[in-house]
């Protein structure tokens, strides 16, 4: 319903937005159209000024922080502030128009989309990195090496809520299990719930949600019979403390361990996910914001590495840059009926999936 409204507006936007789609695109007739950040990659720019306001997911925060830090070193007069209000908090600010970019570790939700439509906010949805959920156990855990999505569901679902490992699988030891997970505001939690528990189910209420990822890592590292999940980047930093389980892909029945390679090539499925920045379309008229987003996308793979995230493929980054240059508004993650699309980024992020274009 709401999505329908959005589409309606989007169509109107498309009609009126004909010239907005042309806004500040490098003019193809110009003699040197692509003189942008590349030509002056090394020198600093002390004349461009303005403010870029970013807020949102704590998972994307390190990436945006690194981007902002590098950008501000080059464009010394531009202020970039990055907040950590969580994906939900970020979108709530974003839909009021009080920030320019929303960091998101999941696609925008229906109600957030509706709020944006209500307030006349149009946006560009730009994937900028991958994140995988790592399912981790204590490193001395000897009975678990790989895990299926069904078992994960048994462990985390409110309907089963096993107290002992034996309740999950008869071959497991009869030991009380300690279950950890990130805070329910995090995009990590939303992603896990959607993939593992499903829309209708509920996560058990007797476990330790923690806003701080460090707490999860340390918590699992200190309990022999613990299990928990969090962003894979935190696992990559603490491989000495934890053991990550191989996750059995329900489609291929293969058990794959999380790593930069498996997440990037989407074999670590279904627990790999893209991270996004949502850019307010009305802000893009501002040169400093345009420069920042272009810088962000162009340097994303370096930035991701420094922030210990998994970068997208170069081809995907080119697509993202192209879509931004073409000012393609709208989301790829809902179909016309408002159902969310599930799959790997390269499957979803294709032109035919753009909801607005319909």
């Amino acid at each position: 319903m709401r999505l329908g409204l959005y589409r309606l507006l989007a169509v109107v936007g498309l009609l009126t937005g004909c010239d907005s789609a042309d806004i500040a695109k490098p003019d193809s007739t110009g003699s040197s159209p692509s003189i942008s950040s590349q030509s002056s990659a090394t020198e600093t720019n002390t004349s461009l000024q303005g403010t870029v306001r970013i807020d949102g997911s704590s998972t994307v925060y390190p990436i945006s922080e690194a981007a902002s830090s590098a950008f501000c070193e080059k464009f010394t007069k531009v202020d970039v502030t990055v907040g950590v209000k969580g994906t939900g908090g970020g979108f709530s600010e974003f839909s009021k128009g009080s920030i320019d970019i929303s960091d998101a570790s999941r696609p925008i939700k229906q109600n957030e989309l509706a709020e944006c439509v209500k307030n006349g906010i149009r946006f560009f949805e730009l994937p900028i990195a991958y994140d995988g959920l790592a399912i981790c156990v204590h490193k001395d855990n000897d009975f678990l090496d790989e895990i299926s999505i069904e078992d994960l569901k048994t462990i985390y679902s409110a309907d089963t809520a096993p107290k002992s490992w034996k309740d999950v699988n008869a071959s497991f030891p009869d030991q009380p299990m300690k279950v950890f997970m990130p805070g329910t505001d995090s995009g990590t939690y939303d992603f896990f719930k959607e993939v593992v528990i499903g829309k209708e189910g509920n996560v058990r209420s007797d476990l330790t949600p923690s806003e701080q990822d460090l707490a999860l890592v340390n918590g699992i590292a200190s309990e022999k019979y613990a299990i928990g999940f969090f962003g894979a980047s935190y696992y990559f930093e603490s491989t000495d403390k934890l053991k990550a389980l191989k996750v059995i892909d329900p489609k291929t029945k293969q058990a794959i361990a999380p790593s930069a390679e498996t997440i990037e090539n989407s074999t670590y499925s279904p627990l790999g996910r893209p991270l996004f920045i949502y850019v307010n379309a009305a802000s893009v008229k501002r040169p400093e914001l345009r420069k920042f987003v272009e810088y962000y996308i162009d340097h994303a793979s370096d930035i991701c590495r420094s922030a210990k995230c998994v970068p997208l493929t170069d081809a995907l980054y080119q697509t993202v840059r192209q879509r931004f240059d073409d000012r393609v508004e709208g989301t790829y993650f809902y179909d016309e009926a408002g159902n969310s699309r599930i799959g790997s980024l390269s499957e979803i992020y294709i032109e035919s999936n753009l909801t607005q274009a319909k």
Binding site: V84, S98, E237, R286
Partner: protein, 404 residues
């Protein structure tokens, strides 16, 4: 309550021998000493931990650089300046109000019944405010100062937040990029002015501050090759971004997540402390001084302004500085106002977005890498040194004035 007689009775009835009683007394004295040692020990361990973790990271560049994703390159300049701005503003707001309230309560003793009732109410109220947790002040500040009770919290339905209601001390420009990414600015009247429309010969200021006239390249027209023409040439589809030059007195309503909102919230936190300590300073002044002034015909205010207030200043200042050191260390209310935020620039006026030292410590202490814990400790050292300076000032004032 036991009277002395009862104690005497008990003492007489004590079956214990004198030596036993003495032994208990001595044991207790040792217990006292050991217990007292506890607090010294705790302080020692705390300081040792902080210094051993953080001292190596203290350097000039740590003080003067911005936060950075790489802990070895991170610094605390914006947070330090944020603390400075918020606390200075908080001090200027709190002192007059706090001292005024203390004078009202101590020096203007009411004569009629209603005023006396009001006095008692205010006094009770302040005692209670002193006990309200600072986090509660934080959420009140969030509602009252940041969003102004949500009155002005809507977007303008065009994808941007509404420009502020009141806007003082800021000049606005529309920023364009010409060819070669050169920046030109076109002054506009106010933040509410519509975007500048591009036209041939538009007057602008280039990045060196020189006035220029822009040359518009129409759709399909090819861009000039000569450098001197390129710097004033602008494409037909270029869009402006509103930027501002803010003077130090820049002021807007609503306050938003600004230094001012933060310092007003801190004011709520320390106001009761300042009032109570000022009241004590006034109470400590011998009534004879006041009475002498009143006796020779001074009005109450003349007596206060010329006699009691000057005499109370040392006491007031000591209390105020201690209250300020509370404000410097306070994190919870600021957390509510500004949240954890990555800022690379120090605030330049009361309306700037900000963070403070204590929040920066909180942010780093809660992070994953050990490197951040170390710089968190280094930031704690800076914070403690800052507090040390403040408290020394208070001690000096107390010493200097308390020996007549």
């Amino acid at each position: 309550m036991k009277s002395l007689g009862n104690v005497l009775d008990e003492a007489v009835k004590q079956p214990n021998s004198v030596s036993q009683r003495m032994a208990t007394a001595v044991t207790f004295q040792w217990l006292c000493r050991l217990t007292a040692l506890c607090s010294i020990l705790v302080l020692a361990v705390l300081l040792y931990t902080v210094f051993s973790k953080g001292f190596a990271h203290l350097s000039w560049s740590f003080l003067t650089s911005s936060p950075h994703p790489d802990p070895t390159r991170a610094g605390i300049w914006p947070a330090l300046m944020g603390t400075f701005w918020t606390c200075a503003a908080c001090g200027f707001l709190t002192l007059p109000i706090g001292i005024g309230t203390a004078i009202f309560l101590e020096e203007f003793r009411p004569r009629n019944r209603y005023m006396r009732w009001l006095h008692a109410l205010v006094e009770l109220n302040i005692a209670n405010l002193a006990g309200v947790p600072s986090v509660v002040y934080g959420i009140v500040g969030l509602a009252a100062f940041v969003s102004m009770f949500g009155l002005m919290d809507q977007s303008d339905n065009a994808g941007q937040s509404k420009p502020p209601f009141i806007d003082i001390g800021s000049r606005y420009y529309d920023q364009f990029l010409t060819l070669d990414d050169r920046v030109v600015l076109v002054p506009v009247d106010s933040n509410r002015s519509p975007d500048t429309a591009l036209r041939e010969g538009l007057e602008a200021i280039d990045q060196d501050g020189k006035p220029i006239n822009l040359h518009l390249i129409a759709k399909g027209e090819s861009a000039p090759d000569v450098q001197s023409e390129r710097v004033v040439a602008i494409r037909w589809n270029e869009t402006p971004g509103r930027v501002h030059r803010q003077s130090w007195y820049h002021f807007t309503v609503p306050f938003g997540h600004s230094v001012l909102a933060g310092s007003l919230t801190l004011m709520l936190v320390i106001l009761p402390v300042v009032i109570i300590s000022s009241q004590e300073a006034f109470r400590a002044i011998p009534p004879s001084l006041r009475e002498a002034a009143l006796g020779i015909g001074a009005t109450s205010w003349q007596a206060v302004w010329n006699v009691t207030l000057p005499a109370a200043i040392p006491g007031i200042m000591t209390g105020a500085i201690l209250a300020m050191s509370r404000a410097i260390g306070e994190a919870a209310p600021i957390m509510m106002i500004s949240g954890i935020v990555f800022i690379t620039r120090a605030p330049s006026n009361l309306m700037s977005v900000f963070t403070v030292l204590s929040l920066q410590i909180y942010d780093w202490a809660g992070r994953h890498e050990a490197g951040f814990h170390a710089i968190s400790a280094a930031a704690i050292i800076v914070l403690l040194l800052l507090l040390l300076v403040f408290n020394s000032i208070a001690i000096v004032i107390r010493q200097k004035f308390s020996q007549p």
